[in-house]
Symmetry: C2
Subunit: 551 residues, 2 copies
């Protein structure tokens, strides 16, 4: 009998299910479901309560609905027997956390808290905790907290501590009512199994947990706020398992909802970006994997631990057991392109796209690709959503310089794309300079479909970039986790290493840098770095002032 | 019998005629005519030869056609007798120069040169001579040229020397073939009278001429380029007269074309911005007059000469005889707003404007006016067309900082408007700091119709701003020049002083600053000044590098 594993991938706008044939490593079926409430960033569903700037929430019901609908759909499509599914794996955006009761009920489900914006899940890209984050970093640096350097010298406003502190400060009643604060991925596993288990990937990268040293101390938490001291000891409590560890078995309630037998092995969760490394069978040292979507995650595995300033973090067991997983990131990539297309595309361009049957992005890429490097006359800092890595400061913002009266939309579009490539180059160079080798660069994610974007990246970075064929890397990784959790005896995989070794890395296309373009981009990159130094490292804090005046 | 004077105002996109009742100072009729070729900035008419970036040309036939059509139209409307017109005055954009033969035939009219881009009139906003201008300023500073400090320490790429040097370097044959190089306004007077006369306004502000010291020396011109030495002695030769001086009489050819009697007094020309001071009856010391249109000119009259760094210039007899006229400017104001509206307004906004029957500018102003100062989170440097005053460097470019994923079009529109107000404030403060008093601020020009824009200016500058009722200040000024040229005996005015003294200054509305807004803008202005220092005064020359890479 063939064995299958089911992976659930919970993204920003939608969730996907993927059914994997464990033996052939083939995708049997996959489908996605768009969240009815999408990203909640203007008003709260139901009450219509307005959200302040930089807020981004989700509705947990969207996740559950998506899980049920996609699972039933892949089973329907594949026509396989439910009994042949041996494992279920889950990946999720992170840090996407919410407060729940002790039994895991989201506070936003309760009438008392439903109209309270802090009771809802804060999506990874919720950036309203930046002032809390600045304070955390300042106090941690002053106290010389030992964990700080594992996170490049500064944690990010997207993570657990800033988000929890914001909740405590702005809505103490919600914070006090929260029996648990939990990542979306762990909450899904809790729903499926009835057991509260946390994963070392989320805990390590987003909750500053370390395999040897655990969480930051209660003493440090007290220094931030007296009432925060129980955050890790109580609200974040729970066993921590490497992703793919068997967290439990599918319970009766979710057996009914998914139409799958009770007892199927449920793997402990993982972060979507990190599990994509496994999904692309790249879980080996010195391969930089850029997952390029709304934002970009930069994943790198190494046999040794180096403290790299300005990166997101280094976590032992963070991606695969026994190795050090490095993460860096860019907070807005596809999101920045989408921002431009939503806000700054004139009617005549929109009409032209419609006439020619092209998407706006395809039209703009086509127009922008006709420009040679430098021809736009523009240079941008790609911090539309703050800066996640190098210098790692969420309170920074985007900049465009070089406007003239002849600047056209395609000039700006290209400059924004180039700026994200400069941002990626800064990260790659920092790893190498710090002694973490990068022998090859792989890319995956939705943006890799855009050949123009990928060629700009190769030209800016000045190295070959290999694009994986794997279109659903995270969902694939989640399914692999499910097969690992099922284990060899049940027909799954014995270990992460086995899962990676017997599969080949699927490469679709290699982008080679054009030497002439590389030369011009080297000059522009020098200017980009200089402006990064000026605006990003404290020489001129105008971006922070603008944010303060705005809020 | 009533006496009338006819003013012609040659602008960027159109020309206007205005018929003035000399005794009542009332406008009898006025009409405008849009140039068929408009601003030529992409391809040359006829041949379709492409223009490089930053080029801006006009077609002299457009001017002549406009003069004929508008003169006949105001005569038709007014039904006055042609014999009752005693004078004609002309104002023109400047520096708008072209090469002609010795008899005044534009070189672009000749088959030999028609396809040659340098044979056409270079409009004031032609900015492709910026590298020549940098060289002129560098060499003049090194030689300690005495005239340089009258122009704030640097001349502008829009002026005669850079444009002529660009012509010489890029198209020596055109330069050599040019018997004359002449401002559009002087050329029009030449057409009307048959006599080549130059005006002290154009010569002083755009050709670095001085009443006491004349033009820069042939020795200096030789230091720029050996073949440039005859520029002032030959190609720019001709008597220089204060605007309003009688340059000659209407000749037979143009008597026929205009349908007006031969012999009418023709006044020597003036620059459109400068004559507007007269047109608003503001030709008195310490009144700052901002003429706000596609660009803004800042005019100020004083009894004494002070050398102010970074302004456009100070010229004795430049505006009225016997006083010192100061000019400063902002190269893109309405042009920057128009750039935004043309390039960055999304379809849904365009559709909303159409549905509500509003212009895009009205819609955007309405949306932007709902924001409080600072709420956009953005700050801009308003140098979309380079910087004309303070620091006075045409190779600078526009900048926007503070973008986030929630930045909307109205945020950017407001930030661009605010940036032009910051630019105006820098100029006003510089005059005062330098010892040229500014006791009141008047504004005129098309942009003053926008109440939102004017309130932002009052709030940013922190002073009352009075808006003149005079909607056609330049054409009005030109008509006043015509009446001065006609003189007292013919029923005109005896002098500029008389023209100003017996008329009242028409004020339509006063904008008072809102103290709360002033406070926030003071903080943003401090940041604007700091960025001006960083990008505009040589600390970081990235704008210049971007321009070089583009070209």
């Amino acid at each position: 009998m063939r064995r299958y594993s089911l992976g659930f991938d919970f993204g920003t706008e939608s969730a996907r299910a993927l059914l994997l044939d464990v033996d052939t490593v083939e995708i049997v079926a996959t489908t996605a479901y768009t969240y009815p409430h999408g990203v909640i960033d203007r008003t709260l569903p139901g009450s219509g309560n307005p959200l302040p700037p930089d807020w981004a929430l989700q509705d947990p019901s969207d996740w559950l609905e998506a899980m049920e609908k996609t699972a039933r759909e892949v089973m329907r499509q594949s026509k396989i027997a439910p009994e042949s599914v041996i494992g279920i794996g889950v990946d999720f955006t992170a840090c996407t956390i919410m407060p729940t009761t002790d039994d895991g009920t989201p506070l936003c489900y309760l009438d008392t808290y439903r109209e309270e914006i802090h009771a809802w899940p804060k999506l990874w890209k919720h950036h309203a905790a930046w002032s809390q984050c600045e304070r955390i970093n300042r106090i941690a640096a002053a106290r010389n907290e030992p964990w700080l350097q594992r996170y490049g010298g500064a944690i990010c406003s997207e993570w657990v501590m800033p988000k929890a502190l914001q909740m405590l400060e702005e809505s103490p009643s919600v914070y006090l009512a929260a029996g648990r604060i939990i990542e979306g991925g762990d909450w899904i596993v809790w729903q499926l199994t009835g057991a509260l288990v946390r994963n070392s990937c989320g805990a390590g990268y987003k909750a500053t947990w370390n395999k040897k040293h655990g969480y930051p101390s209660a003493e440090f938490l007290s220094a931030l706020h007296p009432d925060l001291s129980d955050l890790y000891a109580h609200k974040m409590a729970g066993p921590i398992m490497v992703p793919g560890t068997r967290a439990g078995a599918l319970n009766a309630k979710w057996s009914r909802r998914l139409g799958l037998p009770c007892g199927i092995s449920i793997a402990s969760a993982a972060i979507d970006a990190h599990v994509a490394v496994l999904g692309c069978r790249l879980a080996k040292p010195a391969t930089m994997f850029m997952i390029m979507g709304t934002s970009t995650c930069h994943m790198l595995i190494s046999e040794r631990e180096v403290l790299v300033p300005g990166i997101s973090g280094v976590v032992e067991d963070g991606i695969v057991p026994g190795l050090f997983g490095y993460e860096a990131g860019q907070a807005a990539v596809g999101d920045a392109f989408a921002w431009f297309v939503k806000n700054h595309i004139p009617k005549e361009y929109a009409d032209e796209a419609e006439r020619s049957g092209k998407s706006i992005h395809d039209l703009m890429s086509a127009k922008s690709s006709l420009l040679r490097p430098g021809q736009s006359g523009l240079l941008a800092l790609d911090w539309w959503n703050g800066n996640r890595s190098i210098p790692a400061d969420a309170s920074l913002s985007g900049m465009l310089i070089g406007y003239t009266l002849t600047t056209r939309p395609e000039d700006v579009y290209r400059a924004i794309i180039e700026s994200t490539a400069f941002g990626a180059r800064i990260i790659i160079e920092k790893f190498i300079q710090s002694g973490v080798p990068v022998s090859e660069i792989m890319a995956g994610g939705g943006l890799t479909k855009n050949q123009f974007v990928m060629q700009v990246y190769a030209d800016v970075i000045g190295r070959d970039i290999k694009v994986t064929t794997e279109q659903h890397a995270s969902a694939m990784g989640a399914a692999i986790l499910g097969a690992i959790a099922a284990g060899k005896e049940k027909g799954g995989y014995a270990s992460h290493a086995e899962a990676v070794v017997f599969m080949t890395t699927p490469v679709q296309q290699i982008y080679h840098p054009n030497p002439g373009n590389v030369e011009i981009y080297n000059r522009l990159y020098a200017e980009y770095k200089r402006l990064t130094g000026y605006f990003g490292h404290g020489e001129n804090d105008v971006m922070k002032l603008l944010r303060r005046l705005r809020d």
